[in-house]
Symmetry: C2
Subunit: 114 residues, 2 copies
């Protein structure tokens, strides 16, 4: 899967978004991350693997713990895509507004409203 698709797919799950939000407070172990959820640690471990493969987190190794931490540039590509296209969309709507305004003005010059 291409990296951008992997990132968006990883973000498309509320559990994973909550894990990311938690990791903004600092690194955490699997058990710590699993605690708020009604779910086995294995399931959380799977979510972490998805996040890791999407390049959103890295995982350390300290004794029997595998602390997860955010990657600093985790959300850059996704943010870039969204901001770029949101800007393009807005331009589109601005152009549409101008067209509509021009049409209205033109109509007014010829036959008024109807």
């Amino acid at each position: 899967m291409d990296p951008l698709s992997a990132t968006f797919a990883a973000l498309a799950d509320p559990t994973r978004r909550a894990i990311l939000a938690r990791l903004a407070d600092g690194e955490a172990t699997v058990a710590e991350l699993a605690e708020p959820f009604d779910m086995t640690t294995q399931a959380v471990s799977k979510h972490l693997r998805v996040l890791e493969e999407a390049g959103l987190i890295t995982r350390g190794r300290r004794a029997q713990w595998r602390p997860s931490r955010l990657r600093e540039d985790a959300l850059d590509d996704a943010t870039d895509w969204l901001e770029h296209h949101r800007a393009a969309f807005r331009q589109r709507f601005d152009a549409l507004d101008r067209e509509i305004a021009a049409l209205r003005k033109d109509e007014g010059n010829h036959d008024g409203n109807h």
Copy 2:
């Protein structure tokens, strides 16, 4: 599915992202949208349904055509989430940098480097 998850899930497919990019140039019919892809129009119709249910596009009805167009505020929520959390992540890393700098300075005051 919650709206944010639906949005990210919709964006997690390159075909759908290409469709959105195409729609930034103006509205288009299913057949027009399907043309660049090696895929049946039915498959594209399914993608459009996903985009519509995620609130990213709206669909008109003009004779036998169903033109799709972007929703102006389509990407707002996703962008907000990403920007907010990217900022939070960066704050985290800045804090980490300060901690490390403080540690280095402290170490230097006591026993030099090792």
